[in-house]
Assembly symmetry: C2
Homo-oligomer: 187 residues x 2
Amino acid sequence: MARKESITIQMILDTAFEMTREEGFINVTARKVAAKAGCSTQPIFRVYKNMEELWEAVYGRAISYFQDYYSLYPRTGQTPFSNLGMAYIAFAREESHLFELLFLSQSTGDGAHVNRKSMYEVLNGEDGNVVREVTAAKESGCTDPGDLFTKIWIFIHGAACMSLTGDYDLSDQETKALLEDFYIKAR
Amino acid sequence: MARKESITIQMILDTAFEMTREEGFINVTARKVAAKAGCSTQPIFRVYKNMEELWEAVYGRAISYFQDYYSLYPRTGQTPFSNLGMAYIAFAREESHLFELLFLSQSTGDGAHVNRKSMYEVLNGEDGNVVREVTAAKESGCTDPGDLFTKIWIFIHGAACMSLTGDYDLSDQETKALLEDFYIKAR
DNA sequence: TTCCATTAACAACACTTGTTATTTTACCGT
DNA sequence: ACGGTAAAATAACAAGTGTTGTTAATGGAA
């Protein structure tokens, strides 16, 4: 009947996502994706209406990727927010391009190829990561866990952003101590 | 003797810097600067070897601009680091494009049009802003002011970065309270 | 007035981008 | 084996980038 499909939508998305991880969102162009996927630009526009649609798909996968990253991250922290925070900071260090896309790109801006969700939305995810930690803080005797989350998350976000620009070089061990100390003092 | 110069290096730099403030570093292209300066691209390449040289000049002016911004910022804070921190956060909110260029762009990266200085270098400046605050902390009885600076600056940087993406919406008054509270508890 | 060095403008080059029209290729039912 | 059809490749368009010859304008000196 017709020619068999050799370039699937999965291959395109996989390629584009991997490029985002390794080279950054800005480098996900039609020609570069095609070159990496070993095809022309045509199959891209067959499965996606335009590049924006592909970028949205990459953004969606980045969200899933972060949530998987956190769910697989070891839980060595002893205080609420410490595990989520350590995973977040490690993610910024190890997946800097994805971190930039998810938590640092402005919705209104020039590199804004995509409609961003809020930091809280991505962080909380489908599993309610934040809500769970806030609940734990409440059960551990914290009087205003919501306020504490706001404060400690400012701290955590600061550490993560610094690690991106090379202005933060504390070890995971030191980070853990910092977060647990923060929790104790601010509780 | 010669044709009178109508487009000066100052006009080019002023235009490019103003574009950075208003539209972001990424939009400082030869043609756009020329259009805004009301000339062709030629005068740019007469006074600057290439665009990179202009970008470096814009970056240098951004550093001066930040330092002037801080020196003119009102000193209402009562604790060490609070004035510097409040100015930093206000700068991120009011001059988001400059903040991005100075404190958020990666040296190694795709948007890296310029050789970045470290956050500390820019912050401390020629006047030793950080050193002065650390000294004040020491005199106010802080045992390890260097360590305290590290911690409080992670917090301050976090707030600044959040305000950039719209994930931070505390007032100056609340920010001030937060920073002073942080200092007291962590001292 | 005539000259000429300096400055600005024009236009083009070689490259990139997203996107699309056209052509070629491969498959499958007949 | 043959058509029809869908996929992939090719090539092109229009707009953007930094950059650079070449040409035109200018204004003081001879």
